[in-house]
Structures are given as C-alpha cells and as structure tokens.
C-alpha cells in the first residue's frame, strides 16, 4: 500500500519549524502529502534547532525540528516527545583547492581555537586559515562543538554564517576556509575532511565509525497526535525514509 | 459721494512685534473704486488683506481696532469671531498681483468658488461661469478651449480669468492688488474698463502703482506715502 494513504480524508493545518537541515526532507514530504490531499496545509519555517524546540514547547507550532537531542531540561519543562527519523553526520569541510584533506581531532581543536593559523603548519599551502562557524542556536554547531571539539573554544575571529547554505557558499568560494556542516548538504564544490582517518560518508556514519553525527529529530509537545502523528509516521515509513536517503541523510530504518 | 460700505476705525497691524499699520481711520464708499497708493513696503497689500481677513493665514499677524462692513443693513465688525470667515470671503472677491490660476481647466477654475459653496446644479453652474467669463471679455478667446489647462493662457488672459473667478460668486466687494502691473497696455486697459463697469454692482478696492491709472479710474484715494514726520 502507498504510505501516503494514511492522509486520506484528513484535513487541517500543520505548522513545522526549527532546524534548517531538516527542511529539504520535510519540504519534499509536505509536497507529496499536499499534492495528494489539498485539504491539508503544511507550513514549514526554519529558525534553528533552539527556536524549533522553544516554539513547539510554547505551542506556537505543531512540530519543532531539532538537529540535536533536546536537553533533558527542555524535555522536562515542555513535556516533549522526540522522534528521530534520520541520522546526519556533521562533516568538516574545506575548499577543494586545499591540499589538506585529513585532520586529527586534536588538530581540528587547535585550528578552531585559533592556535594554528596557517595551512602551512598542516602541510598545506602558505595561506591563513579562515574559520567559519554557525550561531549559538544551531544544532549543527552544538553537535560539532561537543563531539568534534570536545567543548573546546572557538576563536573570536571566526566568521559566523547563518545556515548550511551560507556555509557552503562561504567555503566553496574561499580557498583558505574551513567550516563544518550537515553531511547531507555536502556536494562536489566542497571537500569533506577525513577526520581521525574516517571519511564522513553514509556507511561510516551509519555504522557509527564517524563519530561526529547526530539525529534529526521532530519534537512534539506531548505524544504526537492527529496530523502531526501521521506526518511523523510518514517520515518513518518506507517512502519517507526514501526521501531521507535521497536528500543525502542516513535513514534510521 | 456714495454712502460708505466699509469703515475702518483706529486700526493697528503687526507682524509679530513689527508694526506695519498704525492708527488707520478710513471710509470706503460703496459702488466706487477706491485706490490705494504708496511706496513699496508701505503696507498696501497688508491693508487689502484686512477686508477678507486673508492676513489670518500669515503666522504672527495680528490686528487691533475695528473693520466695519455693511453687508445687509447695519455695520458689523468683520473681525469678531462670530463673523464666519468663509462667508466673508465668499462676499469679498480678490484678484492678486500675479495671476494665480489653479492647476485645473479653465472652466473648473471659474467654477471652483461655486464648488466650494456647494452649488451643484449643472445648468446653474454652466450659466454663472459663462456669464462671469463674458463679463471679463474673455469669452471669445477661451470659448473653444474651456477644457484646456488654465496655465496655458497668456498672462493677460490669466489675469482676466482670475477676475472672472472672483466675480462668479457675485461678490459685494472686490479687492485688486495691482491687477494690471504684469500686463501689457492693451490687456491693462481692458481690465480698467471692466472695473469701471463693475462699479454698478460692486465696491472695488485696488492697489496701484501707476499714477495715470489711479487718476483715470479711482473715485477715492487712500495714500500710504509716509508723511515727512515718519
């Protein structure tokens, strides 16, 4: 049977917001659902993981996406129910022109703390290192910070970009750049860095050998019901998981 | 001499603290042309603006004393608050030194005061506008282009248009501030004739710089040339 059948006869509004990495998948799913059933309206907004959790907790939206597991405090205060429907690596990326394509976690930490400031020190060309990072409410950042930097400092001189796309633009255009982003967004204009000998690809992320990874969550206040329930179930269905894969993320099933 | 239409009693005029007119006492005769003469800056235009209270639009202007006008039977002070300034201005027409047609068609310019007064019947408007234009001798020149912009008229034509506009409400008093100074002699003469004509229906008060004009048409003269004492 078609996984979309579950929406037959349903109608109403569904408001989704939060993590930016989720959007391509959620958008595609929404498109399929609304094409089949015009009585359902799904609005999708970004805003970042923090905003997603907060907004769903406050009841402003129905589903709040987050690119990190909500903290236990957040789960407690809002009574959140979590639904993880994809795994996403956070890849460290550099410009394809960069000779340095493999780093150790230690090197990475020293780069981001501003200790190493030239690619020369890492065996690359004689170029200064330009750091790119994300803003504090970003789920990608918090995962990267915890798992790749071991909660180390990020230098003050780091440039802030607002999203995965902006990160891609910045790093793809800047030969001395280093940044990090959702592995699902990496394309041929960027080089993913081999970290501690592990390449961030579907296989290594799925089997857990690439450590800097996270789940993509959809959170609801209280157990999901109605449209939200059906939507999350759809994401977890075969068709939903196929979308996940198509958009470059790792399905959970 | 015709009976008085307006009486001015011990009138002072100030712009802020600057006194322009002091202790003026004058009488303006009805159905006659009163001409105001005097050097530039003597306060002639200001004096004229007393009769339709146009001075009120200038910030800082202030008047003391009384301006009595007889509109129906008895004299009334036109500066008392209960005297409606709108009514006053509809009964007192004014033609400025520089012709000032409004940016609309010739017809609408003349019809404008009627619109303001709320007169709407098409036919009445049509008739009164035509009559006013004819009275100013403008009819042959504009009858084919009533819909054209008034600003396309020549200076002399514009001046007569403004006159027609002032006349369309059939005012009892008509104020003219150097009405012919920007005109060529022929148009000027036309306006002079018109003024003499209007005497029968109106009281005219005119500021003029041209001594020959004053001599020719004025029935009464108010001279603002400062005496040797001031």
């Amino acid at each position: 049977a078609n996984d979309l059948d579950r929406f037959a006869g349903l109608s109403g509004d569904l408001k989704i917001a939060g993590g930016t990495a989720h959007i391509p998948v959620v958008k595609e799913a929404a498109k399929r659902i609304m094409t089949l059933n015009p009585n359902i309206r799904i609005t999708i907004a970004g805003g970042g993981s923090g905003a997603g959790i907060k907004q769903v907790g406050e009841g402003l939206i129905d589903i709040g996406n987050s690119g990190r597991r909500p903290s236990s405090k957040e789960i407690g205060t809002y009574g959140l129910a979590l639904h993880k429907w994809a795994i996403d690596g956070v890849a460290v990326v550099v410009n394809p022109a960069n000779a340095v394509t493999a780093l150790t976690k230690d090197q990475l930490g020293r780069i981001f703390s501003g200790e190493i400031t030239n690619w020369k020190e890492l065996g690359g060309n004689d170029r200064g290192i330009n750091l790119y990072t994300r803003d504090e409410s970003s789920g990608t950042r918090s995962v990267f910070w915890k798992k790749a930097l071991n909660k180390g400092d990020i230098a003050l001189s780091a440039n802030f970009v607002v999203s995965n796309g902006a990160m891609k633009t910045a790093v793809a255009n800047d030969p001395s750049a280093i940044g990090y982003m959702s592995a699902g967004f990496v394309d041929q204009r960027l080089t993913p860095v081999v970290l501690d000998g592990v390449t961030p690809d579907a296989a290594s992320i799925r089997n857990g050998s690439y450590k800097v990874a996270r789940g993509l969550f959809s959170n609801t206040r209280g157990e999901a019901s109605g449209l939200s329930r059906q939507f999350i179930d759809f994401l977890l269905s075969d068709q939903g998981q196929a979308i996940v894969k198509e958009k470059g993320f790792i399905p959970v099933k | 001499m015709t009976p008085p239409k307006i009486k001015i009693e011990s009138l002072d005029f100030y712009y802020n603290n600057h006194q322009i007119l002091s202790n003026i006492n004058e009488t303006i005769p009805e159905n006659a042309i009163t001409s105001i003469i005097g050097p530039s800056g003597a306060g002639k235009s200001t004096f004229l603006s007393l009769f339709n209270r146009l001075w009120e639009t200038t910030p800082g202007a202030r008047v003391e004393g009384r301006v009595l006008a007889r509109f129906h039977h008895s004299f009334m002070d036109i500066n008392t608050p209960k005297f409606s300034v709108t009514q006053l201005r509809r009964a007192v027409g004014m033609v400025f030194q520089m012709p000032n047609p409004l940016p609309m068609s010739i017809f609408n310019n003349v019809a404008f005061p009627l619109k303001l007064a709320g007169i709407k019947e098409k036919e009445a408007v049509q008739n009164r506008v035509t009559a006013a234009i004819k009275a100013c001798g403008l009819w042959p020149e504009v009858k084919d282009r009533l819909e054209k912009k008034a600003t396309t008229l020549s200076g002399g034509q514009q001046q007569r248009l403004c006159m027609a506009r002032a006349l369309v409400m059939e005012p009892e008093i008509l104020l003219l501030d150097e009405p012919t100074s920007s005109l060529d002699p022929r148009s000027g003469a036309m306006i002079e004739e018109l003024m003499v004509d209007l005497k029968q229906r109106c009281t005219l008060i005119m500021v003029s710089h041209q001594p020959d004009q004053v001599e020719k048409i004025a029935d009464h003269i108010i001279d603002f040339t400062p005496g040797p004492e001031s």
Partner: protein, 271 residues
C-alpha cells in the same frame, strides 16, 4: 489623532525594549554590558564588539558614499545636460527600489571573493566589503536628497550666475554648494541612519565574528545582524534578552543622529 497613536507606539517600543532588557541589568552592571565581551557560555553578554562593528561599518559606508553621491548629485542637477540628467535621475530613483537582499546576495558572490583576492588575507567577509555594498545601497537615497536640496536653490540665483557668464562648475562651487550646506549635512546624517539600520547586507557580508575589529579586513558583527543571529535562540535565555539591549542602543544612536540632523536644520533656518 493617528499622529497620536503613532507616537504612542514609538514610546511603546522603547518601553518594551527597556522592560525586557531589564533583567540583564540585574545580572551585571549596565556598563559591563555596553563595554564587555560576548561569550554566552561564560555568562558574558557584552555587546561592545557589536557596537564598534556597527559604527565602523556605517561610518565607513557613509564616508565612501558621501563623495560619490555628492558628485552624482552635482552632475545630475548642475553639471550635466538636461536630457542626461533626467535619465540619470530616473535611474537613481529606480535604484532605490532594488531590494536590499539583492545587494547582499550579489555581494556575497561577487565582491567578497574579489576583496579576498585583492587583500590577499582574511576571508573577504569583512568590514570593507560590507561598507562598499552599503555605500552603493545608501547612495541613491543620499543623491535624491542632495538633488532635492540643490533644486531648492532659487532659480533667480542660477539665472544671475548664468547671465554673468559663470560656467557650470562655478555655479556649483560659488552658489549651489554654499546654499545647500545644510541640506547636504542633513542628507548625509539621515543616510547614516539608513546604513546603521541595515541588517541583511551586514549579516550576509560582514562575517559576523564577535571580536573587536581593528582593521578594515577584519570580520565584524553589527547590532542589527546580532539581533538577527541571536533571535533564533531560546526566548527566555539571557542571549535573547540581550538583543533588546541591542535594540535600545540602536534606538539611542538613531535618536542622537536625528537630533543632530534637526539641530543642523534649525540652525540653518535661523540664518
């Protein structure tokens, strides 16, 4: 009536900013916030780097834009021929309609790499790039304002110069510019306000690093982009509340700028 409503709204916004920003003042001294560093992890919510970044970027963009705008305005209303001027004025008017987002978008792809390569260091996302784009962004407004004040120079003065055999440049230098000093200053000050308030260009181009900038090639964050960046944070968090302080500071700078402009205008009127 409606004027009243509007004014109440202004006061409301200001009041709102202050009320929501208040808890910050409780935690640390106000001075610390205005002069301190930003590091939410260490409970430091100082916005000094952002204030500096804002001032750098907006002042620099006005400095770049001012001579350019003055030149254009002079060309359009005095030096150039009538036909060219009409066309150019139309173009400038159209330019005010180019959405900010487009400046930002193109700036990222076009100007940022250029600056990086020319400078040979840094990421190209820096004060200079943002200021250059902003300078182009505010120029049309400034030009139109200048033209407006040039056009207010009485026709009789221009005729006088023409009839006395003055060239266009002489007309500009001896009559038009002296007569328009006031308008020029006011226009510049108001455009400064526009540069101050712009969010997207700085957000997309300036790099947003939270550091005290000390060269034009350094990345910097403005108050406005700080608001945009942090507004995604948890509503109850201190970070989020600190952006109200940013709003208040912006408000304050704007108010000072406008007061300045008005004072200049008043002065001019008295002369």
């Amino acid at each position: 009536m409606s004027a009243l409503v509007c004014c109440l709204l202004v006061l409301l916004i200001l009041g709102f900013m202050i009320v929501t920003g208040l808890p910050l003042f409780g935690q640390s001294q106000a001075m610390d916030l205005l002069t301190g560093a930003w590091s939410p992890r260490n409970n430091l919510y100082g916005i000094a780097p952002m204030i500096l970044g804002t001032l750098w970027i907006s002042l620099l963009s006005v400095t770049i834009s001012f001579p350019m705008s003055l030149g254009c305005a002079a060309y359009i209303s005095v030096l150039g021929g009538h036909k060219k001027a009409t066309v150019m004025k139309g173009c400038v008017q159209m330019m005010t309609g180019i959405p900010t987002i487009i400046y930002g978008f193109v700036g990222v792809f076009l100007l940022v790499p250029l600056i990086r390569e020319t400078a040979g260091r840094g990421s190209g996302m820096c004060i200079l790039s943002a200021s250059l784009v902003l300078a182009v962004l505010i120029a049309p407004t400034m030009i139109l304002f200048f033209i407006q004040s040039f056009d207010r120079v009485p026709r009789s003065w221009l005729d006088a110069v023409d009839a006395l055999g003055g060239s266009r440049v002489q007309k500009l230098v001896y009559v038009v510019l002296p007569a328009c000093v006031k308008g020029i200053v006011t226009g510049t000050v108001l455009s400064f306000g526009r540069a101050l308030g712009d969010t997207l260009v700085a957000l997309m181009i300036a790099g947003n690093a939270v550091q005290t900038p000390n060269s034009l090639l350094d990345s910097a964050r403005t108050l406005t982009s700080h608001i945009a960046l942090v507004s995604a944070a948890d509503f109850e968090s201190m970070e989020f509340k600190s952006i109200f302080l940013c709003g208040a500071v912006l408000y304050l700078i704007t108010a000072v700028v406008i007061l300045g402009a008005r004072l200049i205008e008043k002065r001019g009127n008295h002369e």
